[in-house]
């Protein structure tokens, strides 16, 4: 067990103006699951890119010892030849090719460029079995869920005779069942002697599977914890990541709840693409002034679809039902009308749907309410600068100026820009869809603080989140959704991880 398969010594990697890694040391034992944790920007992904040869030898300082020998990888295929396979957070699968084609892409079973299909399919079936998939090898990637796609990636890694598997946030977009399946698979591989490195923000998962945990902070190694010799709690890990103990991950709040702001009645929606399939069934809920309301549920439960169908009918079709603001029926049939009615929707995918990444902070901040900084269609530059500067300081957006392109901001700061944009439309009810996904713990705290402030100002907050502790820590009331229905409404006192899961499971039995 104590055979060291990989040792990285004194790795220093500099980008123009930034030292991304500073003298990092990292040791992995053969046959273990080694977790690499740290806040966003701590250098985890950079370290793995150094290891896999994405950054070729010579562009960094330090040594890599693998299998007892010093190695210098100049391309990814150099490291792959030795069985080091990395699976990136953004999956590298071609959606319109089949599972078999994807697994052997660039590595086809062929003679003189002619692919041997029967052999390819047979090999694929073998590999899929190993990762617990029963899909036919000819299935297109686009037709299977994200969870299964992740497993196909692993099957692809197995096809390359992997010895050291690196997973960059493998469960970030998976629901709990798929995550569990994936983690189980990793543990099974461990018994077969395979080594894995897993980068993750989900500390409970890490605790479940990791043998050792290495913590990075600000481009340096903080410490390596051995889970076999000591009991490593989440608080212990967080302390290492942020450099301070974070007793309370959620800022305290005194709720002052007022009248009902948003009420949604008998909301029925059919699927956007499969047009004869009803997706949401009789959804009813309310959000009151000063209240933070959560929607819990598994992936695919219909939470995002509920929010988007209400917000200007931007998802689904054949939408029926009523939306009331302060008791009066409002028209939300287009996005501008939904905004006028006092709604704002902060999307779960800030890069694809929330921001114009090539535009700067200022331009993104005013995008939804340009007319407020313009007269007769002409933008008043000074008014716009003032608005953007005000939000930048109010929400503490870290950037060198309001002219910085949003693509260069960290996840937390990008999220604050999206929030600025919607706050500037002065909404009564904000729908926040996974507002803290993929942002680090320090920035999460700041987002929670902003949410609390908004509630204190009398706005209604509807928060969708897949992280149950987050909902429990911030919400006054939680709706539970499953399979397009609201299956429970829990008060703060009733809500717990168990009660939420129980509601989901029970509703599943009924159908």
């Amino acid at each position: 067990m104590d055979n060291i398969i990989l040792e990285m010594r004194g790795i220093t990697k500099t980008f123009p103006g930034v030292k991304a890694l500073d003298n990092v040391s990292f040791k992995v034992r053969e046959g273990e699951i080694h977790a690499l944790v740290g806040e966003n920007g701590a250098g985890k992904s950079t370290l793995m890119k150094v290891l896999s040869g994405v950054y070729p030898a010579g562009t960094y300082e330090g040594e890599i010892h693998y299998d007892g020998e010093a190695r210098r990888f100049s391309t990814i295929s150099d490291s792959e030849d030795l069985g080091i396979i990395i699976i990136h957070q953004e999956l590298a699968l071609v959606p319109l090719l089949s599972i078999a084609e994807n697994i052997f892409l660039g590595n086809e079973i062929a003679t003189n460029g002619v692919i041997h299909w029967p052999q390819t399919f047979a090999r694929t079936q073998e590999l899929l079995k190993k990762v617990g998939l029963s899909e036919p090898p000819a299935t297109l990637i686009t037709d299977i869920g994200v969870g299964k796609q992740q497993l196909v990636e692993i099957a692809k890694a197995l096809s390359k005779k992997v010895r050291l598997l690196i997973l960059d946030e493998p469960t970030a977009s998976l629901n709990e069942n798929d995550s569990d399946a994936l983690l189980k698979l990793l543990m099974e591989f461990r018994t077969q002697g395979m080594t894995s490195i897993i980068i993750s923000h989900k500390l409970n998962e890490i605790r479940k599977v990791a043998d050792q945990i290495t913590i990075l902070r600000d481009g340096g190694t903080v410490e390596t914890l051995d889970c076999q010799t000591e009991d490593v709690g989440e608080d212990r890990i967080i302390k290492g990541m942020v450099g301070r103990a974070m007793e309370d991950r959620y800022p305290p709040r005194e709720p002052k709840i007022g009248e009902t702001l948003l009420e949604v009645k008998n909301w029925n929606v059919f699927h956007q693409h499969h047009r004869d399939r009803q997706f949401l069934h009789d959804v009813n809920f309310t959000v009151r002034a000063g209240e933070v309301v959560g929607i819990a549920g598994l992936m695919g439960a219909g939470r995002t679809e509920t929010a988007m169908s209400i917000f200007g009918k931007s998802w689904g079709h054949k939408i029926t039902g009523d939306v009331l603001m302060r008791g009066k029926s409002v028209d939300v049939s287009t996005i501008p009308r939904a905004i006028d009615a006092g709604l704002a929707y902060v999307t779960e995918d800030r890069k694809q749907l929330g921001l114009v990444l090539i535009n700067n902070i200022k331009e993104n901040t005013t995008l939804s309410n340009l007319k407020a900084v313009a007269s007769n269609g002409v933008i008043d530059d000074r008014r716009e600068v003032k608005v953007a500067s005000d939000y930048r300081s109010k929400l503490r957006i870290r950037s060198h100026s309001i002219y910085q392109e949003t693509v260069n901001l960290s996840g937390g700061n990008q999220q604050k820009v999206v929030l600025s944009k919607w706050l500037f439309t002065n909404p009564e009810v904000l729908i926040l869809d996974e507002p803290t996904r993929g942002i680090d713990i320090g920035a999460k705290y700041e987002i929670y603080t902003i949410i609390n402030q908004l509630a204190a100002e009398g706005k209604g907050i509807l928060m969708i989140s897949s992280e149950m502790p987050e909902l429990l820590g911030t919400c006054d009331r939680i709706y539970v959704m499953n399979e397009g229905r609201i299956v429970a409404e829990l008060s703060k006192a009733e809500a717990s991880q168990e009660s939420i899961m129980r509601a989901i499971m029970r509703s599943g039995e009924k159908h």
Binding site: G354, R396, S399, Y403
Partner: protein, 402 residues
């Protein structure tokens, strides 16, 4: 990771500024270098008053269409049909003026409206039916070219009445008449004074803008760049103004072009509609979820393109004094090339009016200069193609380095 949350933006250093804006200054420098090069190899023919006038007349329609094309490209689309719209508008203007005898004052607005309808006819499919603009305008290119043949019956129509020709061959008359044009060097004082006034205003406005920016803590370009840029523009403008004044003065087309350039610069930099087009081109989904009616906006940019193509079509037809079925063949490529040389991004969201205009002039000066040198059309095409590739490579190279 040191946080800076002060409300005052930091002043960038001169080096940073140059690095961030190398594209714009590079383009201006490239134009000046190309001009000087051809001035040298053509033994001074390039900057002769007659030739400058020709340059303006020959390129005006490319510049005018580049204004609309830039908006289309920034919005994330492309329009291949403009050459065919040019031909079709030429044809129907000929029918109306020559065959039906309608006055120019009626025909000109009618043609602009028809251009708008042609743009709308394509914009509808792109905006509301989500058909890729490449396909829709490829279809438009064929359809409108075919219609041109149908309307003209395959034969050219001309000549055109005088008042229509003024559109392209007219000059602003010298109502000042300070000296006898027969003996004096300066034959048109209006041109000279107009350019002088314009340069003076530009310098005044530039300084005023800097002052206001300073008061409000907005970013200013370093003074040295501002000064050099102003000086180059002033010298070039004054020189051209002087040269024109020794010939026939300011062409009407130059005035129209200048007004349109100013208008579209304003739209792209200061108006809400311009801002929304950039946001849409940058990320159409985010723009839509921000409450922007992206379909309507796309529809409008195509209508706008159609109107500008119609204007360009009339200018060309008036200049050639004949409507032919082959008019405007390949213009779409020159116009699109001008935008890309000017720094527009093929994936949308990026591009400037000034860039597209300078890009159009780079193409124009090269066309003109190479023709004077007697280089054949074959090599002209080859060289222009390489310049386009080099300009875009320069963009990509800068982006990857930065």
């Amino acid at each position: 990771m040191v946080a800076d949350t002060s409300t005052q933006p930091n002043k960038p250093s001169i080096g940073d500024y140059l690095k961030n804006n190398i594209r714009e200054y590079g383009l201006l420098v490239a134009l000046v270098v190309i001009m000087l090069f051809f001035q040298f190899v053509t033994n001074g023919v390039l900057f002769r008053p007659v030739n400058i006038t020709n340059l303006v007349l020959q390129n005006s329609f490319i510049v005018i269409m580049a204004l609309g094309m830039l908006l289309i490209i920034v919005a994330g689309h492309i329009d291949l049909s403009v050459g065919s719209i040019v031909a079709f508008i030429g044809a129907i203007s000929a029918i109306m003026l020559v065959k039906w005898g309608l006055p120019a004052i009626v025909v000109i607005p009618a043609c602009l409206i028809v251009g708008g309808i042609m743009g709308a006819a394509q914009g509808y499919w792109v905006a509301y039916q989500k058909i890729p603009s490449f396909i829709v305008t490829l279809a438009g290119m064929l359809v409108f070219r075919g219609l041109t043949y149908v309307v003209l019956g395959g034969r050219p129509i001309g000549p055109f009445p005088k008042e229509f020709q003024l559109l392209s061959t007219g000059f602003v008359p010298d109502f000042l008449s300070l000296s006898d044009p027969a003996t004096s060097l300066i034959k048109n004082y209006v041109a000279l004074f107009a350019v002088l006034a314009l340069v003076a205003y530009a310098i005044y406005a530039g300084f005023r803008n800097r002052r206001i920016n300073e008061q409000h803590g907005t970013e200013n370009e370093p003074f040295i760049f501002f000064a050099i840029q102003m000086a180059v523009i002033a010298v070039v403008a004054l020189f051209i103004g002087f040269q024109l004044s020794t010939y026939r003065g300011l062409p009407n087309v130059l005035i129209a072009m200048a007004v349109l350039i100013a208008l579209y610069t304003f739209i792209t930099t200061r108006s809400t509609i311009g801002r929304r087009i950039y946001a849409m081109g940058g990320n159409v989904k985010a723009a839509k979820l921000s409450g922007i009616n992206t379909e309507r906006l796309t529809f409008y940019t195509f209508i706008n393109m159609g109107v500008l193509a119609a204007l360009a079509g009339m200018i060309i037809t008036a200049r050639l004094n004949s409507a032919t079925p082959k008019a405007g063949v390949g213009f779409e490529l020159d116009v699109i090339a001008a935008c890309f040389i000017g720094g527009a991004s093929a994936s949308g969201g990026v591009g400037k009016i000034t860039g597209a205009v300078i890009g159009a002039f780079i193409m124009g000066v090269m066309n003109n200069g190479m023709s004077i040198m007697g280089i054949g059309i074959d090599y002209q095409q080859l060289i222009k193609g390489l310049v386009l590739l080099a300009a875009v490579f320069f963009d990509v190279y800068n982006k990857n380095k930065g």
